[in-house]
Amino acid sequence: MKQRLLIVEPSEVIVEGLKTILESQSRFKLLEPEVSADHIEERIIATHPDVVLINPTLLNKSVSSLRSEYHVAVVALVYQYVEREVLKGYDGVVEIRDGRTVIIETLAQASPVAEQHNQNNYELTKRETAVLIQLAQGKTNKEVAEALNVSIHTVISHRKNITRKTGIKSVAGLTVYAMLNNLIDESALL
């Protein structure tokens, strides 16, 4: 199975350079790159990357929360000075002066999580579970978005994934599911 890679980087030169190196490798599937981290969560939910390669200065969210919420490995793309402490949290560091082989190896080895995460993983992620719980309590997409501090698009993407995994579409059905799985109890029902 190919490793799905999402590059988040504003510089076209760097993106094109990485593409040239990585496209020669059949192990990677390059997703359409993002120029900023503004919509990164929506993109992750929509395209299921295994690895996100991102300039640490762009990321406005902690690496560990991205990793646990979406089961992605996050690799730092570094071409200016970045504090060593910051880089510790990443699953790997690609330096702009690294050679072809090193870059490929760093990305390939970035994540043990990447291997088990694919379309056949039907377990709900932490974030999906959080959305499910809110929905089961009768909240609208908008209310869920506000409660979890994410956009409505993000909530809708999560809902799609929840339905794909459970086979349940309606909110009423999701409520029964949530109760059967002890995610909510009677007192939580509005």
Partner: protein
């Protein structure tokens, strides 16, 4: 026995051969106005004796049996459709009075095996669904069917048009699929499997039946009404 598997049915075939080849059609007979005990008579003979138009009978059987079969407008307009509204009404009655209560009884006994609050939510999910289905049917019975009857009698009531129906025609099988997933995937192991299997088969059957019912409304009833509405205006 003739091979029914690969072609549409003809009126010369024995009704019993048709049923043997496609047993699920059995549940259609009563709704179409045909009682059991038809012996070895041909489809045409049985239909005539029961006062059912043979080509209408065959049309419905073909739609139920062949998933890819979409009758052409010519076929629809060339068929006596007097039986359509009574058939749809009887189907509603069959779903509401027979199938849903049947499923409900199974679900009730499953709910008793679940702990209190979960059982309650489980049952209320089904009740909510039942109410939606009944409201959906009621709308058709109060607005759509009288409209068709009037058109067939040559009258045009200006208050209702079939386009309105298409805009509001909601999906009534979706929640049934949710129920199916909940019942066979997520119930705790303490629930008796026999009970679960019974209700799974019932839900699957009803879901298939409702899909065909929706198909008949959207692909046969709607084109027919469009034609009648146009014919009466000109």
């Amino acid at each position: 026995m003739k091979d029914f598997k690969s072609r549409l049915f003809s009126s010369e075939s024995r009704l019993s051969d048709l049923i043997t080849a496609h047993p699920s059609l059995l549940s259609l007979l009563t709704r179409l106005g045909i009682s059991l005990g038809f012996g070895d008579r041909s489809i045409a003979d049985v239909c005539e004796a029961s006062g059912v138009d043979t080509s209408f009978f065959l049309l419905i059987c073909n739609v139920y049996t062949f998933n890819n079969y979409v009758p052409s407008t010519a076929t629809i307009l060339g068929t006596d459709m007097t039986g359509l509204v009574p058939y749809l009404e009887k189907s509603h009655k069959y779903y509401v009075e027979k199938r849903l209560p049947h499923i409900e009884r199974h679900l009730d006994s499953i709910a008793q095996e679940l702990n209190g609050p979960i059982g309650k939510v489980f049952i209320s999910f089904f009740n909510q669904y039942k109410q939606e289905v009944e409201a959906h049917f009621l709308h058709e019975e109060l607005d759509v069917f009288p409209h068709i009857r009037a058109l067939m009698a040559g009258e045009r009531d200006k208050t209702y048009g079939i386009n309105e129906f298409l805009q509001t025609h909601s999906d009534i099988e979706g929640k049934l699929d949710d129920l199916l997933n909940i019942v066979f995937k997520y119930l705790p192991p303490q629930v008796d499997d026999d009970n679960v299997l019974d209700v799974v088969y019932d839900i699957l059957r009803l879901s298939e039946d409702l899909k065909k019912h929706t198909f008949i409304e959207e692909k046969i009833m709607v084109p027919l009404v469009h034609h009648l509405e146009k014919a009466i205006l000109s």
